[in-house]
Structures are given as structure tokens and as C-alpha cells.
Symmetry: C2
Subunit: 241 residues, 2 copies
Amino acid sequence: MSSKAVVSKRWQGGENGLTIERLPAKESFKSKAYAALKEAITNMNIYGSSEPMLLDERDISERLGASRTPIREAVAMLEQEGLLRAVPRRGIMVVRRSKPEIIEMIEAWAALESMAARLATQRASDEAIAELRSLFKEFDLSRIERDRCDEYSTANIAFHQALIRLSGSSMLVAMTENLFFHVRAIRHRTIFEMDRAQRSAADHLEIISALEARDADRAERLVRDHTLRLARHVESHVDLD
Amino acid sequence: MSSKAVVSKRWQGGENGLTIERLPAKESFKSKAYAALKEAITNMNIYGSSEPMLLDERDISERLGASRTPIREAVAMLEQEGLLRAVPRRGIMVVRRSKPEIIEMIEAWAALESMAARLATQRASDEAIAELRSLFKEFDLSRIERDRCDEYSTANIAFHQALIRLSGSSMLVAMTENLFFHVRAIRHRTIFEMDRAQRSAADHLEIISALEARDADRAERLVRDHTLRLARHVESHVDLD
DNA sequence: TCCGGGAAATTGGCATACCAAATACCAACA
DNA sequence: TGTTGGTATTTGGTATGCCAATTTCCCGGA
């Protein structure tokens, strides 16, 4: 019985440092297909043409060298995630969000990130906040030289994601990741214009200050207003549909 | 060409009373399985036992009288939704959220609902707000007689959902629906105790007042604090795991 | 009594086949 | 020429079968 106990101890690896996670379990075609499709959708300029953008199951299964079954499962997942929509006998189409929908997403983003800011003032370490400030500096410096809209947009989203991570809430991180995915897709439509960049940078600085001052109410308000301002901007200056 | 116009007029049924909607498209086994499984999970007392709660593909397909394929697709969707988790050779298990996860969910809920309150002060009609007040009255009256915890919890969530709908944002509605699903699942663990009911009712009244006064900041703050208080309550008084 | 190892059964992933619905195509007729 | 009716083809949904990875079970040996 002593030997049994030892074996048990060895393999359950609870208190000792040995952490074995049930090895990677080489990913299935299902997950490969999921990743491939999501990647494809990401790199696709969804709002480029106004055509329906259809996908074909059999075509995809051939390209990926797999049968329809795992592809269909991946499509089902992406459908659940709101990226695809499969209508019978009409094909699988990439979902194009309407302008009101995009605005609602940005408002939800404002809600989640402002809460993240509040939580961050209470939970983030000084070091973590300092890192955010240094991230901002890098961003700002690199931005001065080049003024490509896409780069600004990417760095901008990176800043916001870093802030949200400061909250320590993986739920907030996950929920906003989904939102950013959709918002990113319309970056080409110049959501972020250069004249907004200056204002935006100033806002970011203020936000960092509020975090450093551990001022929950102020940080929350600044983040909320900053993002809601983007919503209003999109509402009046971006033309979808 | 005159005949074409007539035919066109007849079948497109624009201005005349003929409204044909592209008939219901009878739902597939996939969606039936999805609905059935979700229903089953809903009615399941997830946090009752501490055992893994496994499901079996072949068993489910037999019960539903369908093959494994549509069941697997439904499972893939529910997995994406975070309700199930399928690990190879170990079965499909209902995801049990840890206490920190539940708390993060409630915090996200607080974020989204407080934003909903803010938007509602700007967008909801007086009538809609009045309806919320009457909903509250019904709830309160019916609650006085019976003090079953579940009923209170249900009515409580109904109130919050009604408030969120006032924002007019279907995005906020959808995102919180997911959260409520998980929170509802642990209602049995007496998240909502009766001593909280009185305080809660008072809070709700205050919130309604703020909405009626169109006071965005106050409504937002009241909702946020109300829900964050629940998070703190769960943190210190509810025992999961 | 306990351990080890190998056979047998289970199970998840995937490929393939089939069917019915829906579309596209086409030819004949008005 | 345009419409109609019917046929061929496509396509999505589902069922089924196979295979390999595991797990389970069981029996012989220590």
C-alpha cells in the first residue's frame, strides 16, 4: 500500500512542482479548420466589396485536405461565434455587421474597458501600470515617424487590450477580444483618422495618470468617455452599408 | 411586357396584402440537438454534486433519435459557447465555473448593465421606464407573500434584463444573456439570500428613480454598485468548488 | 495479494455515401 | 422572344462505417 501511495503522489503532481497537463493532444482537423477559417476571415477585407462573400463547404474541405465533417463542425463553431452565417442552399456567408451593430459593439467595449480600468486601479501592481506607460511611450515614438492608419489602429487596440489585462479579469479580456475582432475588421474604413490620433494619445496619457493615482472613478470615466467618443465618431463619420 | 409586369406584381407581393415570408425552413437536427442539450443543461443542477457530469455522444444520439453527426455539431457549438468541454477519450463534460470565474462574470455583468443604464437614461421612452416601474411593483407584491429563493432570483434577473433592454442595445442584451445563464446555474447555492432582498428592492427603486430623472451618472453608478455588491457578497459568502 | 502486460472493448475523429430539397439549365411551346 | 415545364445538377443535412488512440478488463506471474 505504501507503493501505491507513492505512485499516486508521483502522478497527480499536486504539491510538488511537477505540472503535467495531459500533453498537447495534437490538434484535430476540426480545430485546424477552425483556426484556418478564422485566420482567413481575419485577413479578409470584409467591408471591401458589398457582395455577399460566400464560402463553399466542399471547396474548403478540398483546400484543407479534409472531409466535410470537421469543416462543418468548425463552421458551426464560427457560426455560434457570430462570424459566419450558414443559410441552407445559399451558402456560408461571412457576417457583415451593420453600422448600428458596430456602434453597439463599441459601446459594449466602453462598458467592459471602463470596468477594467476601475478594477485595475484596485488590483494592478505599480509595475504593471508602469509597463503600460512604457508601452504607450514606444507606441507614441514609433508613431511619430510613420502615420499609417493601420499601424495606429493596431497599436491603439494593443494599448486598450493591455489596459484590460491590468484588471486581472480573464472574462473581460475574452469578451473584449471578440469585440475587437469585429472592430478591427472595419479599420480600413478609417475609423481612426489621424486627427484623432493626437487627441487619442492625450487621452491615453490621462488614463495612465488616473491608474497611477489609483483613482477608480476618474479612470473609469476617462476610459468610458474616450471609447464612447469613438462610437459617436463612427456614428457620424463612418459610412458602412 | 405588360404580362411580365403583372406577374411580377402578383408574385412579389409588395403593395398588396400578400405577405409570404420564405417559409420557416424546418429546423435541422443540429439545431434541435443544440436546443435540447442547452435545455438539459439549464435544468441540470450543475453545482449539485461535485462529480464531473459526463455526457456520451452515442447515448445522446440514441435518445434524440438522430445520428452522431448533428449531435457532434451541436456539441461543438455549445463548446464554443463555453457550456461544454469535450476532452478526447474522457467524454463531454458540463463546464463548472470556479468561484473566481463566477465573480468575474458578475463584474462583467455590472459593467454591461451600468452602461445599459446610462444609455437608457438617454434613449428609453418615458413609457418604457414606466413599464419597468410597474414590473417592479408586480415583482415586489408577489414577493411579499412567498419567499422562495428561486422565485426571487428569477424575478430579480427579469428586472435586470428588462433594464438592459431599455438601453435599446441588442448587443448588451445578448452579452448579458450569456452571463445570466451561468449565474442562474448557481442560484441554488443561495447567491440571493432573503436578507439581501430588502436591500435589493430598495436599490431597484433608486435605480428606477435615476432613470426617470434621466440622470445618467447616477443611474450608472447605482447599477454598478448594486451588482458589484453582489460580486463581493458571492466572494465572501458563497462556497463553490 | 499485488503487479504487469496484453487482449478486448470503447470512444472520438474522420471519411464517405446517400437523400431530399432547391437551384440551374434547357428545350419546347405560345 | 419570352415563358413554362420538366429534367439535370448542385448542395446541405444526415447516416454509417472505419480506424486509431485509449481505456478497461482479465489473467498469469511474482
